[in-house]
Symmetry: C2
């Protein structure tokens, strides 16, 4: 029996952080043996709102791949590849554009939200506007059955499946609908400043590559309960980032529960809780950091991995495009 | 010195007619020795508003190529190629989409007009909406210096040159701006029913492939002056399609002038004028029709011409895309 196919990936915007680890990376490590996993480094998607700065992409591709290997993604079973090196993706996007209307794109809730967030001055770039179509091409070109996404990305899967149905009914039924794989403990790791989202541009991220000192300093600066001034005062758990992190990362749930009770009653200082979190995260991140440093010594090895993954992805891409052209009757001669 | 490059072409929507001959085909024959001419059979563009009927494209590609050869386009000097077989066009379109905003596309007068004309029921397909960007890719991929267009297409060249400037300033200056080549005796051949435009869907076209009888019948049915009931009545020249055609096709301008005077004064019947036009058009179209019949005997020869042209176009396309990827710093490894 053939393994089901997963399509996942990241925009290469820089080093990956704990938010990526919780939201997707750890999941990929868990899934990579059970499924055939394609991991797309979406450099073209990064260009859609950043057309002016292509020179940073190469370095970011290396950083992201290092993070992948560091957390345990195995390039022997997972295919890591670069979007721009598979031009079939742009070709399929082009064909799909005939199957979606402008008003349908305008109604896409994810795009609506992101357009608001990004404050495009002189207007939304067309490339950004059509990126749900490009994402549909990413997914379908690899005949992905499963796409791990957060709840906010569900409209993108819906859009993809609409395109799949439209293509299949207009031409020939060569594509399968994709299923969203929403992580069970869905939810987003907040930034160390307590903001809902951890992000590079927000300056509130713990990177997988942070050294032990940096990690400790970031933890000691974390947002807790601003009204918890004296150790003996009762403290709040809700919105207390340190406890949120403990919920994510501590395996000893009993100790965390006891600490929470103690903290709420009064008599447990922030520093103690942070030190406990520091122990846990140092233990989690040390081997990741060490593997990362090990791989970083040989960048040409990293390049080879991405090159080999891209070659493998291109084979699959080329097979699908042959089917697409046949279905569309574009294989004239 | 290198020849300047022309990019021109047609959507393969069926056999070509006298309107095409006047508006572009005869011009291509005149230009093909002086310039390096790429003739694009725009099958992908035909799909943008006709995604459902790809099966007719192949036949139409053959018909259009037959018409090209029949009018004297020489595949030894002009490169006839098929858009969909040069996927670099879709890739370049994809990159260009980041350099144009949605509001800018919405302001494009040509697109505005065409969207109105086409009455898209459930909304404009995205592929149609972005076709000015795709056209810019057609032009720039071949580094065209000149693009023969009608006045109504000038905004498309403007859009292309905006993209060229934006690409050149964002990445590296690898593209040249294109110049619109508006035919001197600009103007559009009306349909035989007197409508401003000759078109397949309007059912008012004289095809280059029409046989002598059909041609004669069409001419005898042409729209003249509906108030010119009796031969002795004075007739009007303005809006009289037969005289419009004579202005286009008669080389004996003096005779035409005399006929016009006679017609306006009264005493010259429509049938006589039509017979004169018939003589002229039969003479023009007979060799075209015969060459077409000759070529139509060997369709595999036609396929070879298109295949060879496409191969040649792909070489140029591949060269340009190497430059594009270098300029965009997408040539990572």
């Amino acid at each position: 029996m053939q393994k089901k196919i997963i399509l996942t990936g990241d925009r290469p915007t820089g080093k990956l952080h704990l938010g990526h680890y919780v939201g997707s990376l750890s999941n990929r490590v868990n899934l990579q043996d059970k499924y055939e996993q394609f991991i797309l480094i979406a450099d073209l998607q990064a260009l859609t709102d950043n057309a002016e700065r292509p020179e940073i992409l190469k370095q970011n591709i290396i950083e992201v791949t290092l993070d992948y290997l560091a957390v345990g993604i195995d390039p022997k079973v997972s295919t890591i590849f670069i979007q721009s090196q598979v031009p079939e993706l742009t070709e399929l996007t082009f064909y799909f554009m005939n199957l979606v209307t402008v008003p349908r794109l305008q109604r896409n809730p994810t795009v609506k939200t992101e357009i608001k967030q990004k404050n495009f001055g002189s207007g939304v770039p067309v490339g950004f506007f059509v990126y749900p179509i490009s994402q549909a091409a990413d997914i379908t070109l690899f005949k992905a059955n499963l796409v791990p996404v957060g709840v906010d990305q569900l409209p993108m899967i819906e859009q993809t499946n609409e395109i799949v149905r439209k293509f299949n009914s207009t031409y020939e039924p060569i594509f399968v609908e994709a299923e969203a794989l929403v992580p069970k403990d869905a939810g987003r790791l907040p930034g160390i400043d307590g903001q809902a989202k951890m992000g590079k541009s927000l300056g509130n991220a713990i990177y997988l590559s942070d050294d032990a000192d940096t990690l400790q300093k970031k933890i000691m600066s974390m947002f807790t309960d601003p009204t918890h001034l004296k150790v003996e005062d009762p403290g709040k758990i809700e919105g207390n980032t340190v406890f949120t992190y403990l919920d994510y990362f501590a395996s000893d749930k009993k100790t965390v529960m006891e600490m929470k009770e103690h903290y709420q009653k009064g008599g447990l200082g922030d520093v103690k809780v942070k030190k406990y979190l520091n122990e846990i995260l140092q233990e989690l991140l040390k081997p990741i950091r060490e593997r990362r440093q090990h791989f970083a010594k040989d960048i040409s090895y990293i390049e080879n991995i991405v090159r080999a993954g891209t070659e493998k992805a291109k084979i699959k891409a080329s097979q699908t495009m042959q089917e697409v052209r046949k279905a569309m009757k574009l294989n004239y001669f």
